[in-house]
């Protein structure tokens, strides 16, 4: 039997070729001492069995072998640990730093922005940030993410900027044609349905659109969420984008139907600010629009950096001891 001992990152691997020409690799965890090859079988480890006939390179480890324990620490510590150490299974991966990042990337909403809209007593409040990012590079801090479809309907942009701008403009055209053909304005329900049907027909072709259509029609305020997967949801409160989970938290806790216009604007502004604070892909300027019975109006556009210092002003530090100039004799 050829036994070869070598090290792979934090594991010690003992590789044996048994008499039947199979390669057996046994992995041992970091805190177990592997000095005496004879005791290996009593240690905890994983066994992988391969059937290969492999020419094994016999490496000479005689220089490394010593009586001292392999990973430092005192002898008694290791011998105690050897007998009864509490230990836990490590995740079965070699990329310990990266695997959590991958699982976060999997669940985090993909579209790098924060937009939100909600219906309240006085109409619809729509707010968005203004950052455009290309991977880790901020390509613009002044993107208009609230698109004016017509004087009484707004659309928000999340996902591909070109897709959103083009299809919202196209929707504006269709809404105007509807007005001319039917001598009355189109409802928010109808407009969102038009957009949803168009996006559904392009499903799977790579459009990236996550938008909210907000407006005021004969039935009062209306809010719909439409996305490029073909989904269309009617609701009273939505937030879209990578910063949306953060915005939802602030929005849900502060929302009441009976807000005044100023209170609702402050709630929307605050939710966008908190999302830009935590989400790297959101930032720039928090714009807030209000859609009322006479159409939309832009209420404010504040830089989120300045908002931070207005919400959390810097306190002067308490000085315990002051240093003064030494008097020169």
């Amino acid at each position: 039997m050829n036994r070869v001992k070598y090290r792979i990152s934090w594991f010690i691997v003992v590789q044996e070729i048994t008499s039947s020409n199979t390669v057996v690799r046994t992995f041992f965890l970091l805190n177990q001492r592997v000095n005496d090859l004879v005791d290996i079988s009593q240690l905890k480890g994983f066994r992988f069995e391969f059937s290969l006939s492999v020419e094994i390179m016999k490496l000479d480890f005689s220089g490394l072998e010593s009586s001292a324990p392999l990973y430092g620490g005192s002898n008694e510590l290791l011998s105690d640990g050897f007998s009864a150490a509490p230990s836990f299974d490590l995740p079965v991966t070699s990329d310990f730093d990266g695997f959590q990042k991958n699982s976060i990337q999997m669940v985090k909403p993909a579209k790098g922005t924060t937009t939100l809209a909600f219906i309240f007593k006085e109409g619809v409040m729509v707010a968005a940030d203004s950052r455009a990012s290309m991977g880790g590079y901020i390509s613009s801090q002044s993107v208009k993410k609230i698109i004016e479809i017509n004087p009484y309907m707004l659309g928000t942009m999340a996902g591909g900027a070109a897709d959103c701008q083009f299809w919202h403009r196209n929707l504006g055209i269709k809404c105007r044609l509807h007005e001319l053909a039917n001598k009355r304005r189109i409802s928010v329900t109808g407009a969102s349905k038009l957009l949803a049907n168009i996006l559904y027909s392009y499903r799977g072709m790579g459009l990236s659109v996550g938008t909210m259509i907000a407006g005021w029609d004969e039935k009062g305020p209306g809010l719909y969420y439409v996305d490029s997967e073909g989904g269309r949801l009617k609701g009273t409160k939505f937030s879209v984008g990578s910063g949306s989970p953060y915005a939802y938290g602030v929005l849900d806790s502060g929302y009441k139907y009976d807000l005044t216009v100023d209170e609702a604007a402050e709630l929307a502004r605050r939710a966008i600010y908190h999302a830009t604070f935590r989400d790297g892909a959101s930032g720039g300027v928090a714009s807030v629009y209000h859609v009322g019975p006479n159409g939309w109006t832009k209420l404010s556009g504040d830089d989120v950096g300045e908002l931070h210092y207005s919400y959390y002003p810097v306190e002067p530090a308490i000085v315990e001891q002051e240093m003064t100039e030494a008097v020169v004799a």
Binding site: V107, P109, A196, N197, L199, Y200, R203, Y225, D227, E229, G230, G231, R232, L233, G235, F238, S244, P245, Y248
Partner: protein, 198 residues
């Protein structure tokens, strides 16, 4: 994560569905009605991809209405189920609809009936059916406690037991459920089982 199930009782059929609209880890809304009223005596509970669900169910609804306008009489539940299956089958090899459907209906001559329609156009006439992760819990509950010719109260109790089981055992259980019923008086909403107000 989406749960739809249904069962047949004495002179009625019941469909229960969750009401959450979810996008990865985010719940967009928890009062989305996924049981569509096809016509006066048919209920269709659908689960699957968001866009497909809305588009396919509305397409079926409009075609069922068109048949009634053209021919003066409504489709039977069996005919509607076969129409749906045919549409799913035709689209399957080109542009499949990812929707699972539980169709419940009441016909004057044949009484209540329940159809299980898969996204790959499987069609079965059944007494009880379930889709989604909730089906792992609902199906065995229904197998154990279901018996033919249940009264409305017994069926509602069984539905509640299934909902409770889903709530306690499914790791990402939906918050609210809606129960709809169809009998000789028509298809209508029966009640909601909520844990959150939305």
């Amino acid at each position: 994560m989406e749960c739809v199930f249904g069962m047949v009782g004495k002179g009625f059929a019941l469909v229960v569905a969750d009401t959450s609209a979810v996008n990865s880890i985010l719940v967009h809304k928890s009062n989305e009605d996924k049981i569509m009223v096809l016509d006066s005596h048919k209920l269709m509970g659908a689960s699957g991809e968001a866009g497909d669900r809305a588009q396919f169910t509305e397409y079926v609804q409009k075609n069922v209405a068109l048949y009634q306008y053209r021919n003066g009489i409504p489709l039977t539940t069996k005919a509607a189920a076969n129409f749906m299956r045919g549409e799913l089958a035709t689209a399957l090899r080109k542009n499949p609809y990812m929707v699972n459907i539980v169709l419940a209906g009441f016909d004057k001559d044949t009484g209540p009936s329940l159809y299980f329609i898969d996204y790959i156009a499987t069609l079965h006439k059944v007494d009880k059916a379930a889709f989604g992760y909730g089906s792992y819990f609902a199906l065995s509950m229904m197998d154990r406690h279901y018996h033919p010719n249940m009264t409305v109260d017994e069926a509602i109790k069984l539905a509640e037991q299934c909902i409770e089981e889903i709530r306690s055992r499914l790791v990402v259980a939906p918050q609210n459920f809606v129960i709809k019923i169809v009998d000789k008086d028509g298809a209508r909403e029966h009640s909601w089982r909520r844990t959150t107000k939305d």
